[in-house]
């Protein structure tokens, strides 16, 4: 067969949130200007007993359920994160065991800042198209770290998204991956050295030379090589480090708000790093209709972009609603949850 | 019982926090007291059986049989037995087997625990060895937690109130007031118990037996006689984990041991006038009354309410029980027998019972004693 498709999908967010205005007030900054500058109102915070593994597990369980595929038939899993629980001891291995996947699975952990999850999706797509596996998982998960007082603190959030891919001929195939391409450079916009707990970034340099340049180049390539017309894309999902960046690049390319609407999840969640564009994709898959086209362009600092063109094979179905009540944290509770106070 | 086995000597150390005493010191003290009360020569001891649960963890010591034996001039054969908090009764049961088989004619049975040599957290974790290390401990449960679960379920099934439960420790403390060997001799009202800090909701501090140091020893013999005869010695078992039981508000091991012990001694429950029962937590005592058959299920608290009100259907935990007398784990079962024997002699009563168990009654030992002079 020539294409892979998404058969099942799931996302998991912790139930805790903190309002951007509360963070601002702690640092005696003006909440209003931050809100208007970032466009993010609140962000998700992991529970004290949650980490990138537990978030990924929950998302993957949901994806298994929606796909109807028995876990023992899944034989590949690639997990992207900037916050894998271990530097050495793979999250993907832990998930093979916890999810009861086929022990004879291809598995590895990935890092490419916020595009490590989509890189995983490209790998699994390849394994399926080459006929090496029937079903595989691509997961993006993060409990993003940010230094207290740093600008990133307002947006760095926690969440996971999981996609179960299989052949597009499968009866449960929901969304076919038609094409994918990537663009990669060496750009020092955002980095974290091995012995450092928090990432550093280069301020305004992260904008034009980072996010905008790479996303723009990728979109150009997509339009040229795939011969698509952007207005024909029903749903566009960009990486969302905040609410402003994706809207700016969209406007520049002539993509309108209605095309962005379904996947635009950042204002109420924040930037879940490796899960960010993937959670946006989950939101689209819940709402999109048969035959609609989806364009995903994720961005990872360092830097690079992954782009996907997808076609819905069936109408999307919403995931079960999370019935837990959201719990809003005060700044001191948020610090403990982010692991700042652990010994 | 194949032979007549007599309690010919007994002795114990006071129970408490003995920072200046080692495991060996406690053993020596109890052995000396037992020998003195027996009027026997140390060399007449054929065998030593030591009961202990935690020495490996709290005192870096195994080989307790050899250690105890070395305290006697002639180094008799010795062994150590363990069944968590029921180790004392197990040691007595083992002694009976050796005596019945004639491998020994006079056995020194010694229970000892030196718990304060390790941190509270370490001891708490070590005590969880009496539950299932794979099914129970990983969740973070401790023994107060296990009995907290049991208490809440019991309250749900039978309507027991917090105020009612508080009477149990009040009774135990009142008893211990008269016991010079008890760790805690201050009186407590039920209100004091109810007001004490929460340990494992709904159990409070004064519902829980303490961490204690102490030793208790007794000498059992088939060739030396005394008015106190062991009429029954029964051991039973159940699952380690409460997750593998159909109910958590009644202990099968106790029910079975009681039924067998009554059969072995050929008496009726109503003949028993004095009881030492295993009150590791106040709720345990309530459940014990029901499992031993002195009360219907759901009504165990009435015995305590009666006692607190001045009526005495039963002479119960005169030592103060585990709560007030203290609970140096493996010494308790032996102390219970000594206490029953003392009461039978002092009051010319004929029949008494000691009920000891390990963990959440994963193992249970019941001894029935007769005062042949009564």
């Amino acid at each position: 067969m020539t294409h892979s498709a998404i058969l099942g999908f799931g996302a998991y967010l912790p139930k805790y949130r903190i309002k951007i205005s509360d963070i601002a007030r702690h640092w005696e900054q003006d909440p209003a200007s931050l809100l208007s500058g970032l466009g993010v109102e609140e962000k998700s915070v992991p529970g004290l007993d949650e980490d990138s593994f537990t978030l990924a597990f929950e998302a993957a369980q949901l994806a298994l359920k929606t796909s109807g595929i028995p876990p023992s038939r899944v034989s590949a899993i690639f997990v992207g994160s900037e916050s894998h629980p271990y530097a050495v001891k793979p999250t993907s291995g832990m998930l093979v065991s916890a999810l009861k996947l086929d022990p004879f699975s291809h598995a590895a952990d990935l890092e490419f800042a916020c595009k490590s999850g989509t890189a995983g999706m490209q790998i699994v797509d390849s394994f399926i198209r080459s006929g090496q596996i029937n079903f595989g998982f691509a997961i993006g998960t993060d409990t993003a770290q940010s230094k207290p007082g740093d600008a990133l603190e307002y947006t760095a959030a926690a969440g996971a998204a999981a996609f179960l891919l299989g052949p597009d001929s499968h009866k449960n195939a929901l969304c076919r991956i038609d094409k994918t391409l990537s663009y990669t450079t060496d750009t020092p916009d955002f980095w974290r050295a091995v012995n450092e707990p928090y990432p550093r970034h280069a301020g305004r340099f992260t904008g034009e030379p980072g996010y905008f340049h790479h996303t723009r180049e990728t979109i150009s390539a997509v339009v040229k090589e795939w011969k698509i017309k952007l207005p024909e894309i029903n749903h566009v999902v960009f990486h969302m480090p905040n609410a402003k960046f994706p809207m700016r690049i969209a406007k520049e390319c002539g993509i309108i708000k209605e095309q962005m609407r379904a996947g635009f999840i950042v204002p109420s969640i924040g930037n879940t790093y490796s899960a960010c564009s993937l959670i946006g994709l989950v939101s689209v898959l819940e709402q999109a209709k048969k035959d609609e086209l989806i364009l995903v362009v994720s961005y990872g600092s360092g830097s690079g972009c992954d782009a996907f063109l997808m076609t819905m094979l069936k109408n999307g179905k919403p995931l079960p609603i999370d019935e837990r009540e959201r719990e809003y944290l005060k700044y001191d509770e948020y610090l403990e949850h982010s692991g700042m106070l652990s010994s | 019982m194949e032979k007549n086995i007599y309690l010919v000597g007994s002795g114990l150390t006071p129970f408490g926090e003995w920072w200046g005493e080692s495991l060996r010191d406690l053993m020596e003290e109890a052995i000396a007291a037992a020998l003195k009360s027996s009027h026997l020569n140390a060399t007449e001891i054929d065998m030593v059986i030591v009961a202990n649960m935690l020495a490996e963890v709290t005192n870096n010591q195994s080989g307790l049989g050899a250690l105890a034996s070395s305290l006697l001039p002639h180094h008799p054969p010795a062994l150590r037995v363990e069944s968590a908090c029921g180790s004392g009764a197990l040691a007595l049961h083992t002694a009976c087997a050796f005596l019945e088989s004639k491998r020994a004619k006079t056995v020194l049975v010694l229970g000892v625990e030196k718990m304060t040599d390790a941190s509270v957290d370490a001891v708490s974790q070590a005590l969880m060895g009496a539950a299932d290390s794979e099914l129970d401990a990983p969740s973070g449960l401790t023994f107060p937690g296990i009995f907290g679960l049991i208490t809440r379920r019991y309250m749900h099934e039978f309507g027991l109130t917090r105020e009612q439960l508080s009477v149990v420790s009040a009774v135990h403390h009142r008893n211990a007031h008269e016991n010079p060997f008890a760790q805690f001799r201050q009186k407590l009202t039920p209100e004091d118990v109810t007001a004490s800090p929460l340990v494992s909701d709904p159990l409070r501090l004064f519902d829980c037996s303490p961490i204690s140091d102490g030793a208790a020893a007794c000498i059992l013999s088939t060739i030396h006689k005394s008015p106190l005869r062991i009429a029954a010695s029964q051991m039973t078992s159940d699952t380690l984990s409460i997750t593998e039981r159909p109910t958590i508000v009644s202990f099968k091991a106790t029910r079975e041991a009681m039924s067998r012990a009554l059969k072995e001694s050929d008496i009726d429950r109503s003949d028993i006038k004095v009881v030492e029962t295993h009150d590791c937590f106040s709720i345990a005592s309530v459940i014990n009354m029901e499992d031993l058959g002195f009360a219907k299920q759901g009504e165990g608290i009435r015995i305590y309410e009666d006692i607190y009100a001045g009526r005495t259907p039963l002479f119960l935990n005169n030592s103060g029980g585990l709560k007030a007398c203290g609970h140096p784990v493996a010494a308790t079962g032996i102390k219970q027998l000594i206490e029953v024997g003392k009461y039978l002699k002092d009051t010319s009563t004929q029949w008494g019972l000691a009920h000891n168990f390990g963990g959440a009654a994963a193992s249970c030992g019941i001894h029935i004693m007769e005062n042949t002079n009564a």
Binding site: F53, A98, E323 | P138, S139, T142, L149, L198
Partner: protein, 305 residues
């Protein structure tokens, strides 16, 4: 506390098998949990999972939990050891809603699956007799005609009726066995299984692969205590010849029937290897009493007998 790597490794399988919803049997809050769990009080529950297994695990709840509360599983980080190994556990999150009564009997099914001729009916009849107080065979609904050799294990019905029951959702697992001689339907009714549960007994099904898959799909794999029955013999060929011998000596079928059954049996034996995940235990049918002893040992309800 010794929390070495081998102990943590073994705990993984145990935690995986607990990822099921359940009901709160009891709970307590430890004011000072063991040091490795942090400084806050920890609420731990005794939970009965919907496959009848009981577990001790933390309860995640906004408000105070209550007995009979429904809970759902969540994967959580329990703690990190002094060596930096992360220990994960399944915790249970309280769901909104009213208290439910615990089932008097854990709602699971004992299934014995094996190729034709391995001796399933003899085993199931014996099990039902030996453990009659605790277990009962689930009758098999079938559209085929009664045979002289049938012994009360079937309930007979018409193909039309069978289809109606299937549409109504009463049949929870079904298969048809096309063969060169006849086409027949077989299935289990939920009403029969539930009736046995309501009596406080364990339903026993003696079955083949497709019916087993159907039951696992309907009730959840965890609700089946699944035994694979294999014929004696070291190699596949030896096993097949043992089966053939038994089928012939049984004298119940024609040679044509036997050929069909042997074809199925070969396929079934291959299946045992492929779908190990559908079986909890494999038992070789050397002789009846050792099979009964094996089953008795591994069924929690029977072990007290």
């Amino acid at each position: 506390m010794n929390n070495g790597a081998p102990i943590i490794h073994r705990s993984l399988k145990r935690e995986r098998d607990r990822f099921l919803p359940g009901t709160v049997v009891s709970f307590t809050t430890l004011t000072h949990p063991p040091v490795r769990f942090g400084h806050r009080p920890r609420t731990i529950g005794l939970i009965e999972l919907n496959n009848g297994q009981r577990v001790l695990a933390p309860i995640l709840s906004e408000n105070k939990p209550f007995i009979g509360q429904q809970v759902r599983p969540r994967m959580r980080l329990s703690h990190a050891t002094a060596d930096g190994l992360r220990v994960y556990e399944v915790a249970y999150e309280a769901l909104a809603g009213k208290a439910v009564q615990l089932q008097k009997f854990p709602g699971y099914i004992l299934a014995l699956t094996g190729p034709s001729g391995v001796g399933k009916s003899t085993i199931s009849r014996t099990l039902a007799r030996v453990f009659s107080e605790y277990a009962e065979n689930v009758p098999i609904l079938t559209t085929r005609d009664p045979k002289k050799s049938d012994d009360g294990e079937y309930v007979y019905t018409t193909p039309k009726e069978f289809e109606l029951l299937r549409r109504a959702g009463v049949i929870v697992s079904s298969t048809n066995i096309p063969s060169s001689t006849e086409k027949r339907q077989y299935g289990y009714r939920s009403t029969d299984i539930e009736a046995i549960w309501n009596k406080g007994k364990l339903p026993i099904v003696v079955t083949e692969i497709r019916l087993l898959k159907g039951l696992a799909h309907h009730y959840g794999r965890q609700s089946i205590l699944s035994f694979g029955l294999l014929p004696p013999g070291k190699s596949k060929r030896a096993k097949l010849s043992a089966l053939l011998h038994r089928l012939r000596t049984r004298g119940r079928e024609t040679e044509a029937h036997i050929r069909d059954r042997m074809k199925n049996a070969e396929h079934d034996l291959a299946f045992f290897l492929e779908r190990k995940d559908l079986f909890d235990h494999m038992v070789v049918n050397e002789d009846l009493s050792s099979v009964i002893a094996s089953v008795k040992e591994k069924v929690p309800k029977f072990s007290g007998i």
